[in-house]
Amino acid sequence: MTSINVRVDGMSYSDDVEPRTLLVHYLRETLGKVGTVVGCDTSNCGACTVHLDGESVKSCTVFAVQADGCEVTTIEGVSSSDGTDGALHPVQKAFHEMHGLQCGFCTPGMIMASIDLLKENPSPSETEIREGIEGNLCRCTGYQNIVRAVQQAAGEMSGSPAGADTLGAQA
């Protein structure tokens, strides 16, 4: 067992973990942060994406011991602490507004990846968004509404009107 100290979603934790414990298993099983999920074994799907010291990482491909002394943000920590609707992160809100999710399993990872992308590139083109979330697989949406959601969030976060096209060809 190895002792670690981490801050997760604004709370400090000290725990003894087996070195082989993956960060995602620590989050889910030790801390009960089940909003972050596991979708594959090979770091392809991105469902487990969290922020480690402010950068997106796949928490299934980081050992919990490697997060010692670090700050972790999960999907459960991106909105304001009371979790009320009005306090959603603009990216969360945009996923809802633009129907950027169906089953929702990839959604936490997709949102965390999108927030990270927008931090580096506040007004990405459609191609930049598609490439920026290439590490996250979604089986439901065909990605188009996810792209729209990221565009919408980019618009809102930069204070300009939504960069997205109007909602859906059929809406």
């Binding site: 190895t2 087996e18 070195p19 082989r20 993956l22 298993h25 074994d41 090979t42 770091s43 392809n44 991105g46 994406t49 480690l52 950068e55 997106s56 990482v57 796949k58 299934c60 491909t61 980081v62 050992f63 011991v65 490697q66 990846a113 990270d116 992308l117 490439e131 920026g132 290439e134 590490g135 996250n136």
Partner: protein, 285 residues
């Protein structure tokens, strides 16, 4: 899946790391960014006795100038490599290739040295290092030694690193003169490894190609140089025809594998097309 149990060491200096490796027992794995090692351990294709984690060895991070060379710390992450101004200026080929490695999350963790020490022939960076005549600085119990790229990649997933040694930095000669560069990558989906890729650096002089360096990804068990094409290009006219003619010999001396994505003969064809494209772009055509 969950990896098999292992002993864990987290040194903070190179000396401590060498010590930990020496004391780690029969089967020690060095954890750099972990973006290949951890999945392999999760699949239980690797079950090391000891894992030595380099993530806190801060002296291994960063890019600096040293005379005519750039020095890239082995633990510099892909993301840091991509945005480093020195690399942008003196070795944009590295930045261009690194940007194609996997995805953003992986680039935040994966490291330059780790990728090279892993020596996956489908990985993007070994061929780039080879094309740029990089040198590998290796630390061991008896001090440091430097190995040229041409000698570093020995076989499939095998390098000149001996037991107990550690790759600490990579020295890349600054290119001076009128160099153009291009990394031409071919894969079926964005996130995947290269089926074949070509790293080209071309120096032009008076409308001619003075020098071309071409590294090939996934054309054999190690990264390779397209020597025949390089020779044909030296002094050739910088024209599409001359480049196309030279690119026809890009597969000479390669021994590509056959897999789901490509059989060997198709790889041999692809490498010619990609070499033509990479060299043309690097030559500004």
């Amino acid at each position: 899946m969950i990896p098999a149990p292992f002993a864990y060491a987290r040194p903070t200096t190179v000396d401590e790391a060498l010590q930990a490796i020496a004391e780690g027992g029969e089967d020690v794995k060095i954890l750099a960014g972990g973006q290949s090692l951890i999945p392999v351990m999760r699949l239980r294709l690797a079950a090391p006795e000891t894992v030595v984690d380099l993530s806190k060895v801060s002296e291994l991070r960063g890019v600096r100038e040293d005379g005519d060379s750039l020095v890239i710390g082995a633990m510099t992450t892909h993301a840091d490599v991509v945005r480093d101004p020195l690399i942008q200026q003196y070795a944009p080929l590295i930045a261009e290739a690194t940007e194609t490695v996997a995805d953003r999350q992986v680039r935040h963790r994966g490291t330059f040295g780790g990728a090279l020490a892993h020596a996956d022939p489908a990985g993007d960076l070994p061929a780039v290092a080879l094309a740029l005549d990089a040198e590998f600085v290796i630390a061991g119990q008896n001090g440091r030694r430097t190995v040229p790229a041409a000698d570093f990649f020995v076989d499939y997933l095998t390098t000149a690193l001996e037991e107990g040694e550690l790759l600490v930095e990579i020295r890349v000669p600054k290119l001076t003169g009128q160099w153009g560069m291009r990394y031409e990558k071919f894969n079926r989906v964005a996130q995947a490894w290269s089926i074949v890729a070509v790293a080209a650096a071309v120096r032009r002089e008076d409308g001619h190609i003075a020098e071309a360096r071409i590294g090939l990804t996934n054309m054999g068990p190690t990264p390779l140089r397209a020597r025949a094409t390089e020779a044909a290009l030296a002094g050739a006219a910088a024209t599409p025809e001359a480049i196309a003619e030279a690119a026809r010999s890009a597969a000479e001396g390669t021994s590509p594998s056959s897999d789901l994505n490509a059989q060997a003969d198709y790889r041999e064809h692809l490498v010619q097309v990609l070499t033509r494209r990479a060299v043309s772009a690097a030559a500004g055509l």
